[in-house]
């Protein structure tokens, strides 16, 4: 077992995830944010969710139709201008939210199911199962994510479904580790031992006792995984490997690149989709990390501060009579 294991396990137990590229961020994000940020993040996500769900009714124009001149700057007719085809950018961006958020969500679910199952099996049964599964996890971790994803996408997936599956299959490892640590902690708890002593079978223990304890962490992790998945989708579509029949934010960035938006000075074709991705990822990060922090509270107080304690003038009234 790698020496990094203690670091990973300690950080998992205490506050964060292992050390795969994306899950390194877990360690990082602890100590990050508080409640206000979580609320802000949720608000932002709600807005985008609304856009995604009610998009078709909100879009000012049909996103696929040519409704204006090519690369027209923002105007009252087209708030975000038009793209290289003449389609309205605002409609495109709103339409894009559906696919981007959708792919992100479902890919995260796939990763969660795989990772969660591996984590639960590994943590609960321990022993050889654990060693075997963790070895596999180690090997999967060693494969560079983006190249693999790109190759797989090129070969298997110009369809959304395939892309979702590909992303899920590559990114389940951090979830597995996190859940495994949690399951191990729960496994040792008194009520589980008691249930076992009373003769409860394994599946009963897992479903009734372990899963409920693990679920909140799983959900928090899934939120963060959605962010990873959205990123992954943008990379895939940017390289031209996405589903050609769908609009996503990643696709819009690709369009801007291939349509030479920079040469045409059309910042409105480049900026909005990327800003949307950035904001959504930010919001997801804030929410996911706040939840994780809430579950693993870190009571550490800093012992160092640039500000100092204050002095109050002596007040005669304060002397007890």
């Amino acid at each position: 077992m790698s020496l990094i294991e203690p670091l990973q396990n300690a950080s998992e137990d205490a506050l964060a995830e292992g050390v795969q590229a994306s899950s390194r961020r877990g360690f990082v994000r602890a100590n990050l944010l508080g409640n206000k940020q979580a609320i802000f993040g949720l608000a932002v996500l709600a807005v985008f969710l609304f856009l995604a769900v009610f998009g078709p009714w909100i879009e000012p124009y049909d996103p696929l139709a040519k409704t204006g001149p090519v690369y027209a700057p923002p105007s009252s007719a087209h708030w975000l201008g038009t793209d290289d085809f003449g389609a309205d950018m605002l409609s495109l961006v709103i339409a894009g939210s559906r696919v981007s958020l959708g792919v992100g969500f479902f890919a995260a679910v796939v990763a969660m199911v795989i990772g969660g199952s591996v984590g639960v099996l590994s943590g609960f049964f321990g022993g050889k199962t654990d060693t075997f599964l963790m070895r596999i996890t180690d090997y999967v971790l060693v494969i560079p994510d983006i190249p693999l994803m790109i190759i797989a996408a090129a070969l298997f997936g110009r369809s959304l479904t395939n892309i979702i599956i590909i992303i899920g299959i590559i990114y389940w490892t951090s979830t597995a580790r996190l859940i495994r640590a949690q399951v191990i902690a729960v496994r040792e708890r008194v009520y589980v031992k008691r249930a076992r002593a009373l003769g409860a079978g394994n599946s009963r223990i897992v479903f009734k006792h372990v899963l409920p304890q693990v679920a909140p962490l799983l959900i928090a992790n899934t939120v963060l995984m959605v962010a990873v998945a959205i990123f992954a989708e943008t990379y895939i579509t940017f390289l031209g490997l996405g589903d050609p029949s769908t609009i996503s934010w990643g696709r819009l960035i690709e369009n801007a690149f291939n349509g030479e938006a920079t040469i045409n000075n059309a910042w409105w074709a480049i900026a909005p989709p990327g800003i949307c991705v950035t904001i959504v990822i930010l919001a997801l990060t804030m929410v996911g990390q706040s939840v994780e922090d809430g579950l693993n509270p870190r009571l550490k107080v800093g012992h160092l501060s640039v500000r100092r304690f204050r002095l109050r003038p002596l007040n005669g009234k304060l002397n007890s009579g």
């Binding site: 790698s2 020496l3 990094i4 670091l7 950080s11 964060a16 050390v19 590229a21 390194r24 961020r25 360690f27 990082v28 994000r29 602890a30 100590n31 990050l32 180690d138 090997y139 060693v142 494969i143 560079p144 994510d145 983006i146 190249p147 693999l148 790109i150 190759i151 090129a154 070969l155 962010a227 990123f231 943008t234 990379y235 940017f238 390289l239 490997l241 990643g250 960035i253 801007a256 690149f257 938006a261 920079t262 480049i270 900026a271 989709p273 990327g274 991705v277 950035t278 904001i279 990822i281 930010l282 990060t285 550490k300 107080v301 800093g302 012992h303 160092l304 501060s305 640039v306 500000r307």
Partner: protein, 324 residues
């Protein structure tokens, strides 16, 4: 566990992983080649043609035989021939690697230096505007898709400061007049800056967050309070007790990230048409040049394994708790 024991174990483990990676690489690309040939849809792709392809790629032999062949070739550093050019893959890799390495190194260095600076200061001045500023800029850059940031830089920065936005060399340089080594060097550098900056900014976000987190952890430890109680000034405490200790997780996490950076550089090189390993990867996918792809993939996997091992060894070197 004694020191030398530990090192030996880690190296052995890494070697095993290398072997597994090599084997997986073989399986993956044999399967892919097989599928790719099957999936070939083109005018002259009759059954006979496909059979010929299979024979060319050695796909008609039993798997076991192919595997031994593959390992044998690897041992002699023979990575096969590139499909379109029919030239040895080995040769095709050299130039792109020579191009990618300095660019990636530049970006990573930038990210590390600025990331550590911002992370330390943010943690030190926790709760102040400086902290929030550093935190949110780091979060923002970390949340940006690399390719989009690249495009934004091209759009808003390149023109303003007159930096080139594609390729690695100004085509006209040295064409009509002799260009000095210095000029060539500077030209190279100028072409590297934007891609490196793009890479660096996104990485910076990640690293700054890591450093800040690690520092905050450390600054909450008891020995920091003791250090203050001993009368040490804040700055001394931050460096000698805070940073010194936080370097452990920081070094580890940074080293681990290094293995994945080339993968991340793919989109950057694509945006800037920078002829490095990343761009080569995309091109070979386009051309279905499997031998080349296989070699690149193996290279990338090996670098991840290498940096993992490095991280382990560094941790071992710097954490006295492990060494005795």
């Amino acid at each position: 566990m004694r020191g030398s024991d530990y090192i030996v174990r880690r190296v052995l483990y890494a070697l095993v992983t290398v072997f597994v990676a090599v084997s997986l690489n073989f399986v993956l690309f044999r399967a892919l080649s097989g599928d790719a040939v099957t999936a070939l849809r083109c005018k002259q792709c009759s059954k006979a043609f496909k059979e010929a392809q299979r024979r060319d790629l050695g796909l008609d032999e039993p798997l076991w035989v192919q595997y031994k062949l593959y390992l044998g070739n690897l041992a002699r550093f023979d990575l096969g021939n590139s499909v379109p050019s029919e030239k040895p893959v080995r040769g095709e890799l050299i130039e792109p690697i020579k191009n990618s390495l300095p660019m990636v190194a530049l970006g990573t260095l930038f990210a590390i230096v600025v990331g550590i600076a911002v992370g330390v200061i943010a943690a030190w001045r926790r709760g102040t505007a400086v902290d929030k500023g550093g935190l949110y800029t780091a979060l923002a850059f970390y949340s940006m898709p690399t390719q989009w940031l690249g495009l934004m830089l091209v759009f808003f920065v390149a023109g303003a400061v007159g930096l080139p936005t594609s390729g690695i060399k100004t085509a006209t340089l040295g064409l009509f007049t002799d260009a000095s080594t210095w000029e060539l060097f500077v030209d190279r550098l100028r072409h590297m800056i934007l891609p490196a900056l793009t890479l660096g900014l996104v990485l910076y976000g990640d690293y700054a967050l890591i450093v800040r987190s690690a520092m905050l952890e450390t600054l909450g430890e008891d020995y920091v309070l003791t250090a203050r109680a001993k009368g040490l000034k804040n700055r001394t405490v931050v460096v000698k007790h805070g940073l010194r200790n936080a370097m452990l997780p920081i070094i580890t996490l940074v080293a681990l990230s290094l293995g994945f950076i080339i993968g991340g550089a793919i989109t950057v090189e694509y945006v800037f048409s920078y002829p490095g390993l990343g761009l080569l990867t995309v091109e070979s996918i386009d051309k279905r040049d499997f031998p080349l792809l296989q070699a690149i993939f193996l290279l990338l996997t090996l670098s991840v394994i290498f940096f993992n091992l490095l991280a382990d060894l560094l941790y071992f070197r710097f954490d006295p708790r492990v060494r005795t």
